[in-house]
């Protein structure tokens, strides 16, 4: 038996690093590039009017995207209000009650499929389901489409976070004589709380940048969303329309909207990172 060559190992180690570090940097570089472009081209479009005024017809200077900002917020909130409770409850079912039952296995499988479903297909689905039946595009339809996209994300993170709660904690609550539902809501849920919030925030971040499902459901509008039963303005479809337009002013507004969405998603993501860090230091430790 001969000793392996130390030099050979060191060379292999170096080589591996030389290959992997640039690959890792490439990931950051792309993100940095996108940020740079969006900021440098979009920052100029952001002024008070952008946040407070309605869009102007092409060729007319000024105006803003206040209606689209409001519409995006409305539909994201609507999606969260619909998608979060359903996702949370389904996740509780999977982690706490269904576990290995046939129904739970089926739900898990379909959730994975839903997670991988292209968002445009969800858009077309809601188009057929709501827009065709009601006869017009609406913010409702947009909210429902976004909710469908949120659902699997919330569901999976809920299940994962509840699974991280040690069985002993469940057993302790039950051993004190707590009914199952009460142990789940008052002890298990609380132990997983910050993780659940993180999951919801990530789901919000994910859908707030979606364009395709809104294109078929909320469409877009130049006016204030007075009710969400009508086509509703939103940032992403506005970006899509404005960026494709031949007008320099619209193109610049598209950049501005892109910057706004990017920053918004960044804030939500960073926020979720913070709650996650908080969770590590505070909740149930072994």
């Amino acid at each position: 038996m001969r000793l392996r060559s130390r030099t050979q190992r060191k060379v292999a180690d170096r080589a591996a690093r030389v290959v992997m570090v640039p690959a890792a940097l490439a990931g950051i570089a792309v993100l940095a590039w996108i940020l740079w472009e969006v900021i440098s081209r979009g920052a100029g479009a952001l002024n008070l009017d952008f946040f407070t005024q309605l869009p102007t017809p092409p060729g007319m200077e000024g105006g803003g995207l206040a209606n689209a900002i409001l519409g995006t917020l409305l539909m994201t909130v609507l999606a969260t209000v619909i998608g979060t409770p359903v996702g949370l409850m389904a996740g509780i079912y999977l982690a706490e009650f269904g576990t290995t039952s046939r129904l739970a296995t089926a739900v898990r499988f379909t959730t994975n499929l839903l997670m991988g479903t292209p968002s445009i297909i969800v858009g077309i689905f809601v188009y057929a389901l709501i827009v065709l039946r009601t006869g017009h595009f609406s913010g409702w339809a947009g909210g429902v489409a976004l909710a469908i996209l949120m659902l699997p994300v919330v569901l999976r993170t809920t299940e994962d976070m509840l699974n991280l709660v040690p069985d002993e904690l469940r057993e302790s609550a039950l051993a004190l004589g707590a009914p199952r539902w009460r142990a789940t809501l008052t002890v298990v849920f609380r132990a997983a709380k910050t993780g659940l919030v993180t999951g919801i925030l990530l789901a919000v971040a994910r859908v707030s940048g979606e364009t395709a499902p809104l294109l078929f459901t909320a469409l877009n509008s130049f006016y204030w969303p007075e009710t969400i039963s009508e086509p509703t303005a939103n940032l992403t479809v506005t970006i899509f329309n404005y960026a494709m337009s031949p007008y320099a002013d619209w193109q610049q507004k598209a950049w501005g909207a892109s910057l706004l969405i990017t920053v918004g998603i960044l804030i939500v993501t960073v926020l979720s990172r913070f709650t996650l860090r908080d969770r590590k230091s505070r909740t149930w430790s072994r």
């Binding site: 904690l169 057993e171 302790s172 004190l176 004589g177 707590a178 002890v187």
Partner: protein
């Protein structure tokens, strides 16, 4: 300190738990075989044996906590206060109020120290605010934790040390006034000083409660228990007064185990 009972005493004492022909299955795998034992009332009974011999499995039947897992199944009779608790008609919430449990690792709930103790109380009693704080204080005193936490009842229980957390769990279990307290290796995750405190606490508990203590630590069994059962491969090999089990065991396996020949 050790008031280890005698074999005669074991027979003469009223039993809190009478186990008859208990078999237990994890799915298709049998873990307990024909367990028969009478746990004497208001005494500390230790359960010893090598890892995987069924010690924990055995006491997890007493409060039917194993039912959390759908593949786990118990057959036979476990009579507590004259009632076979394995019957489907038994009210689990009532059973678990009477049978408290302490786990290997401390399991403080993610809430304040006060709320941890109040949790079990509020499950079973309608209590006003002043009575609640009296009861919490009383439980913490009986859990030998009051002096250390009386100024920080509003702080999260997770901030306590491991040993304090475990005493908190004992206080939490005591608060609901159980008659029987099951302890599943309560000191295995705790340092020696904290262990000594918990052992002292167990000594004081035997005046009011029946305690069943699963332990892999034979010195601990010898120090705190009146009676000892030796488990091996799912069978109860021997049960008797602690002094007798440790000085003059009747069975060969028991002797081999306590002299350190295996396990």
């Amino acid at each position: 300190m050790n008031r280890a009972g005698s074999a005669e005493e074991a027979r003469s004492l009223p039993s809190k738990v009478s186990v008859r022909n208990l078999n237990f299955y994890y799915g298709g795998q049998q873990a307990l075989f024909d367990n028969n034992i009478d746990i004497p009332e208001k005494r500390v009974t230790a359960i010893i044996g090598p890892s995987g011999c069924g010690k924990s499995t055995h006491i997890r039947v007493y409060n039917r906590i194993y039912e959390l897992y759908r593949t786990h199944r118990a057959e036979g009779q476990v009579v507590i206060d004259g009632k076979n608790i394995l019957l489907p008609s038994v009210d689990l919430i009532d059973l678990r109020k009477r049978v408290g449990m302490i786990f290997q690792r401390p399991t403080p709930f993610p809430m304040t120290i006060f709320d941890n103790i109040a949790y079990g109380l509020k499950l079973h009693y309608r209590v006003g605010r002043t009575e609640l704080s009296d009861r919490v204080e009383d439980a913490l005193k009986r859990g030998a934790l009051w002096d250390e936490v009386k100024d920080k009842l509003g702080e999260p229980a997770n901030a306590l040390s491991g040993g304090q957390q475990q005493r908190l769990c004992i206080a939490r279990a005591i608060a609901t006034e159980p008659e029987l307290i099951l302890m599943d290796e309560p000191c295995s995750a705790i340092d020696p000083v904290a262990t000594a405190k918990i052992e002292d606490l167990i000594q004081t508990l035997r005046d009011n409660y029946t305690v069943v203590l699963v332990t892999h630590n034979m010195q601990q069994a010898a120090r705190v228990s009146d009676f000892t059962a030796f488990f091996y491969k799912g069978y109860i090999i021997e049960f008797g007064a602690t002094k007798q089990i440790f000085t003059n065991p009747a069975e060969r396996e028991t002797e081999d185990y306590i002299t350190g020949r295996f396990g």
